[in-house]
């Protein structure tokens, strides 16, 4: 068996999927070929790394951190709840207050207009009367001419 053939059989060899004859051939090649032997050993060493896995000890402050995050979350949720209740409760109240204000100020303005109307009319009437009273103007001209 040559190097290329051995490379192709290394994985089935590791997984124990080969027949005894092929196993014997590969063993013989690995014993005589340094580079294939190194390759085989590297694959074995890399594949067996998980066996060296250590158990990780949790950080002693993990619980404190979780508590902190939960407090931040709860504060956020409270703020959210407040803003939601603001939207749900305060907003309609404010809108209806503004509506009532708008209606009453409308009525008020309307009343003010109607109560002011006659006065304005008199003023207008007076001024128009003054400017359109030709007689009065003629009289004035006449008095100037006469003088």
């Amino acid at each position: 068996m040559n190097c290329k053939q051995t490379h192709k059989k290394i994985i089935p060899y590791i997984n124990g999927e080969l027949n005894p004859d092929t196993i014997h051939e590969i063993k013989a090649h690995l014993n005589s070929c340094k580079s294939c032997n190194t390759l085989y050993n590297e694959v074995i060493k890399t594949m067996s790394i998980p066996d060296k896995r250590k158990e990780i000890t949790p950080n002693p402050f993990l619980y404190t951190r979780i508590k902190e995050q939960l407090t931040t979350y709860n504060n956020g949720a409270e703020k959210k709840a407040i803003s939601v209740s603001y939207k749900k409760l305060l907003q309609p109240i404010i809108v209806s207050v503004m509506l009532v204000f708008a209606i009453f100020s409308g009525i008020g303005l309307g009343n003010a207009y109607f109560s002011a109307k006659p006065k304005n009319k008199i003023i207008i009437e007076k001024t128009t009367a003054y400017y359109l009273n030709d007689l009065k103007q003629e009289r004035l001209e006449m008095t100037i001419l006469n003088n």
Partner: protein, 199 residues
């Protein structure tokens, strides 16, 4: 105190029960997250998030499954999500650096010695190679292989966590082993060829 009492205590928002719960299961969650993420600080952050989520969603827990099975599932799913999001972030980062012409790549030097017994520089290279080979596996193979090899769970436990048959677990681990070994072999073949060319 059994798990049922613990769960009821947490549902009632009793801090004492939650503290006992965290003390009991923090190692499980942290170790599973580390197995998938290969990074202690990321795994610690994720563990913290998982426990916060557990506290907020414990009422969703159905007593049909074991509490540990539920936690394993949660740890696996959150870890895979974390990896997916990280990949997306890296793609966006790479696209960004492509357009800005900023070629400085962040070199993350991972020191896996905290995770493995007597590791040196040569061993660290092997560790990195193995992690890369595992990360390239299809998701289901990755889950089964990682839980079996790193967290030392039995096939029965894995089948419960993944919700698949024992035979399916066996198949996944067998294929995963082959794929990982192939990656590792092709890496060493390439490096030995390069070495030969140099000489």
């Amino acid at each position: 105190m059994n798990d049922k009492e613990l769960i009821q205590g947490i549902i009632n928002k009793d801090e004492k029960y939650f503290k006992i719960f965290v003390d009991k299961y923090q190692s499980l969650v942290l170790n599973v997250c580390t197995s998938f993420l290969h990074c202690k600080s990321d795994a610690e952050d994720l563990t913290q998030e998982i426990f916060v989520e557990v506290f907020l969603s414990i009422h969703k827990f159905r007593n049909e499954a074991k509490l540990s099975t539920w936690l394993y599932r949660m740890a696996v799913n959150r870890s895979l999500n974390f990896i997916r999001n990280n990949k997306k972030r890296n793609i966006i980062k790479n696209i960004g650096s492509f357009f800005t012409g900023d070629d400085k790549k962040e070199i993350q030097i991972a020191d896996p010695s905290y995770l493995y017994e007597d590791s040196d520089d040569v061993e660290n290279e092997r560790i990195e190679l193995l992690h890369k080979a595992i990360d390239s596996l299809p998701e289901k193979q990755k889950i089964a292989f990682t839980l079996s090899k790193f967290d030392k769970l039995s096939y029965a436990e894995i089948s419960e966590i993944m919700g698949i048959t024992l035979a399916a677990v066996e198949g996944l681990i067998h294929r995963a082993k082959k794929n990982v070994a192939k990656k590792i072999l092709s890496h060493y073949r390439k490096t030995s060829k390069k070495g030969k060319r140099k000489h």
